[in-house]
Amino acid sequence: MSASLNARNAAVALVIAFLLLLPLYSHVSGNVFALTLFTRIVIFALAAVSLNLIMGYGGMMSFGHAAYLGIGGYAVGILAFEGIGSGFIQWPVALASSALFALVIGALSLRTRGVYFIMITLAFAQMAYYVASGLARYGGDDGLTIYKRSDFAGLINLSSKVQFYYLCLACLFGGIYLVWRIVNSRFGLVVQGLRSNEARMQAIGFPATRYRLVCFVIAGTICGLAGALLANNTDFVSPAVMYWTRSGDLMVMVILGGMGSLFGPVIGAIVYLVLEEFLSQLTEYWALIMGPLLLLIVLFGRGGIMGLLGRPRHG
């Protein structure tokens, strides 16, 4: 057991070291592509970490999590389009609108359970997708180009690849730290208890829905931050980031890495997006290889990749 725990910790330490040193490697080898790819991966890892909070720890199988990527992205894009370039305005708006969206759809969807919850969160995300497609002023279906990245008054330059990468990485580590604090707090134990046995939690005196809802809003807000980063990364935002397949990608990353493990979603995002990148270079039918591969990992490692590396800690 302790050996397998070490395997987990070693893998996590290795991944952290790799992510921290990547720009150095990129600089020395001149491989700019690696930095571009991993900026994207780190952003999606943050989104997956936030989804893991509700899905892995809270047992809420949200199939609409990509909606926040779009909402955070559009907040940045629309404000930039309207001439408000300051990140100090754009980003708080991105977080606040994601939180508000999560509050509204959470209040409605959390009345349902199981498959119905999956379907209703999916439906809300698709609604957001169609609303964005209808925003004619902001590019509609074609999306919205962002001509200038968020401006932080000289504090940090988002147009510098390295600085932007480290900003994304800081957001990711900050997100993980936040989730770690939350899951071990009073609030986190309640949310995990509700996943484990809702009837029992109600019987000992916990009102289930309000705790779930707050958790849902926290996760949505963190993902909204990922959305703001993503829009800056691609200098572009379109309804496609909210499409249901994107939500599916996020779910796969979480399940692949290991639901309910702190670093699982990061490893899931890396494996998924790196595989996608390289398999799609090999063949346009890359999904034919990816599909069975995911199936194998999920079948044989019920806790995803982190599960294969060893059992999770308890107590």
Partner: protein, 259 residues
């Protein structure tokens, strides 16, 4: 309201609950006085668990009312009743299987220590909650199993943990739904001793099939058949009641023969 001095801790009036064509609780009235251990017995399908779930609020009655401590709680959700001092154990063990025994009890204590919107401090390091948990575990003889995951506890230990969780909420009224279910002879005897000690501290409603335990523990007994109260009174009266014998005790004897 003209509350008399003898207002019972729990008062159920004309409770009715139907499932399709079946009336599981049929115009049921019941009073439990503060400090007593009130046993509810009846053959399988008499509606005992249905009654308990209505008392705790997991199930709403079609009509009738439930008063607890003089307050009408009929429409209140389960969690609010728990906050008022009503605790239950489940007939089929219902714990948090992937948490430790100590976590299960500490969460029950946490539920009764204000709201839980604290996002930062490590709840497992809170001395107050852990101390309450340890005391409740010690009460049922499980302190040496505090850090064991519930799914790894034996069935008997899980039954004891059910009780510790209920106790950690510091209840005024404890609803125990077949705490002896599935226990071996020595485990049952331990549970009876435990309940004997508890009955002095807290009012208890006990649903139980084990007649020996019921007659050893109960101050009063209510007999349910088809959702209806057919008798209610002191154990001696119940034992000699002809209708009860016919409806229940006879069958129970027949059942124990095959055990």
């Amino acid at each position: 309201m003209a509350d008399s001095l003898a207002e019972p801790l729990l008062r159920v009036d004309n409770l009715v609950r139907r499932f399709g064509g079946i009336t599981a609780t049929d115009n049921l009235s019941l009073e439990v006085a503060e400090g007593e251990l009130h046993a509810i017995i009846g053959p399988n399908g008499a509606g005992k668990t249905t009654l308990i779930t209505q008392l705790t609020g997991q199930l709403q009655p079609n009509s009738g009312s439930i008063h607890f401590g003089g307050r009408n709680i009929t429409g209140l959700p389960a969690w609010r009743r728990s906050r008022l001092g009503l605790a239950r154990s489940f007939q089929i063990t219902s714990l948090l299987p992937d948490f430790t025994a100590a976590d299960n009890v500490a969460l029950a204590a946490q539920a009764h220590d204000g709201h839980s919107f604290y996002f930062w401090a490590n709840a497992r390091k809170e001395q107050g909650l852990r101390e309450t948990a340890r005391a409740a575990l010690a009460r049922v003889g499980l302190e040496h199993r505090a850090d064991v995951t519930v799914s790894k506890l034996s069935h008997g230990e899980q039954r004891e943990l059910e009780l510790a969780v209920a106790l950690a909420t510091k209840p005024q009224l404890l609803l125990l739904d077949e705490p002896m279910a599935g226990l071996g002879v020595s485990e049952s005897a331990r549970m009876v001793e435990l309940l004997k000690a508890l009955r002095r501290e807290v009012t208890i409603v006990l649903v139980e099939h084990d007649m020996e335990a019921v007659f050893a523990l109960a101050d009063r007994i209510t007999v349910l058949v088809y959702g209806r109260v057919i008798a209610s009174g002191l154990p001696a009266d119940i034992k000699s009641n002809d209708e009860v014998k016919r409806a229940y005790l006879g069958e129970q004897h027949a059942v124990t023969r095959y055990d």
